[in-house]
């Protein structure tokens, strides 16, 4: 019963929370550049406008791939908030990302294809840290079950600081923020136009946008999982940590220029190996 409620809450609230987070993101970014910035609800205005525009699709298959991406992302988040296996969540998420890749290459536009190829490299860059985090949770809790991890008595971050650092690092890649916004250049007029999303207009772009909100809420949930230890006061701490992490992402986004993909790959694997790897060694030796 609780599971059903959690899933329904996720499906209804995630786009609202995700949209507000993005609005906050744009507002804070603007303030960092000493501008007023768009209204908090701007992302919603954008999506509503996109839904109203004439639909021009390069290939009908693109819509199919995007809807699959959306549905699988929804499934990922639902499984996570229903407290199921965390490994399974991440596997479904990878499948979703593959559909996004298809949605881009199917248009056979050079910009979208370059963006899609970079997206694949991004997946390679973040996947090790994601899997290692799952291993970290398993070592501490003895289970991959999200429900059990969240409501057990241990605060995982105390034992997994290295894993947390690695996860926050790859979050920048996953959220497509500068310096790792290689697949969809976040700002206008860059060398691959809009990368992955170049050939997506109107409704398709709206689907992409809303899926990103679902994804962000799921990723923030994983951040929260590092903090959760089953008590109610702890939930507040988790929310604070999530907001701080988001702020850190915005700060990184606004203070760095983008990086080449091979640099990204080396750096993310380096950080993963170093922080998560050392943490893993220590855990295995101490336990």
């Amino acid at each position: 019963m609780n599971q059903t409620i959690a899933v329904i809450c996720y499906i209804i609230l995630a786009p609202i929370i995700g949209g507000l987070l993005e609005g906050l993101d744009r507002k804070v970014s603007a303030r960092m550049q000493r501008r007023v910035g768009p209204p908090l609800l701007q992302p919603f205005y954008d999506v509503i406008k996109l839904m109203k525009k004439q639909v021009i699709v390069v290939s009908p298959a693109q819509t199919f791939a995007l809807i699959s991406y959306f549905a699988l992302m929804l499934l990922t988040g639902s499984m996570f908030f229903a407290g199921m296996d965390i490994l399974l969540c991440f596997f479904v998420m990878s499948t979703a990302a593959t559909f996004l890749y298809f949605a881009a290459v199917i248009s056979s536009s050079p910009y979208a294809t370059v963006g899609a190829n970079r997206e694949l490299i991004q997946m390679m860059a973040y996947e090790p840290a994601v899997l290692l985090s799952c291993v970290g949770f398993y070592l501490i809790e003895g289970t991959f079950n999200v429900g059990e991890i969240a409501f057990s008595k241990t605060t995982d971050i105390i034992y997994l600081p290295g894993f947390f650092v690695a996860f926050v690092f790859i979050l920048t890649i996953k959220m497509r923020k500068s310096p790792f916004d290689t697949s969809t250049s976040h700002h206008m007029h860059q060398e691959i136009v809009k990368g992955l999303t170049t050939e997506m207009g109107a409704q398709n772009l709206a689907i992409f946008q809303v899926t990103e909100w679902y994804e962000n809420v799921f990723l923030m949930g994983v951040i929260g999982l590092f903090i959760m230890n089953g008590t109610t006061t702890n939930i507040i701490i988790a929310v604070v940590v999530i907001l701080l992490t988001y702020f850190l992402e915005i700060l990184i986004d606004n203070t760095s220029a983008r990086m080449k993909t091979d640099m990204m790959l080396k750096l993310s694997w380096g950080v993963t190996l170093f922080s998560a790897g050392v943490n893993l060694l220590v855990l295995m030796l101490v336990r």
Partner: protein
């Protein structure tokens, strides 16, 4: 329901301008004037754009490009010609390769005069374009309701309707 005019995304294309107008356009879009507070985003992608800003005249080489960019933009859309070159051909009007202003290949809605167009005039033009965008969008919505599907609007809106507000 939020109005579409709260989210106008721009596409800026440089025809055969001398770059004077482009610099003014970019100046009007810099953080100093903060166009994003009105929801304006400068996108390089025609498929995501609502307002097409064109500077410079049309020559034999870019005529096709301009037509193509215009066609790739989903309806409703608005075209703004910035600077006398884009309005009429300007100082280059009599050159052997110049066909004329932007309206020699695509329907233009708003003409922003000036050589180079002042940022104030450009912002004024964009404000007019945003109002027109809202109006077009309402018409578009009505047509969609009647036709049942968004593509139906495409056939219903006649090209001559586009060339209003001159």
């Amino acid at each position: 329901m939020a109005k579409v005019k709260r989210s106008p995304w721009l596409l800026h294309y440089d025809g055969s301008s001398c770059n004077g107008c482009d610099i003014e356009v970019l100046a009007a879009l810099t953080p100093v004037y903060d166009a994003e507070r009105f929801g304006v985003m400068n996108t390089g992608d025609p498929m995501q754009a609502d307002i097409f800003m064109i500077t410079g005249g049309i020559n034999t080489q870019n005529a096709e490009v301009v037509k193509q960019l215009y066609d790739q933009m989903p309806r409703p859309k608005v075209v703004v010609a910035v600077g006398v070159c884009a309005c009429t051909g300007g100082v280059f009007k009599d050159c052997y390769n110049i066909l004329g202003g932007a309206d020699s290949v695509i329907p233009v809605d708003i003409y922003v005069p000036g050589c180079a167009a002042r940022p104030q005039a450009i912002i004024d033009g964009v404000v007019k374009a945003v109002e027109l965008f809202q109006q077009r969008s309402d018409e578009h919505d009505k047509l969609v309701k009647q036709g049942g599907r968004p593509d139906a609007a495409k056939d219903a809106v006649k090209e001559d309707k586009e060339v209003s507000n001159g």
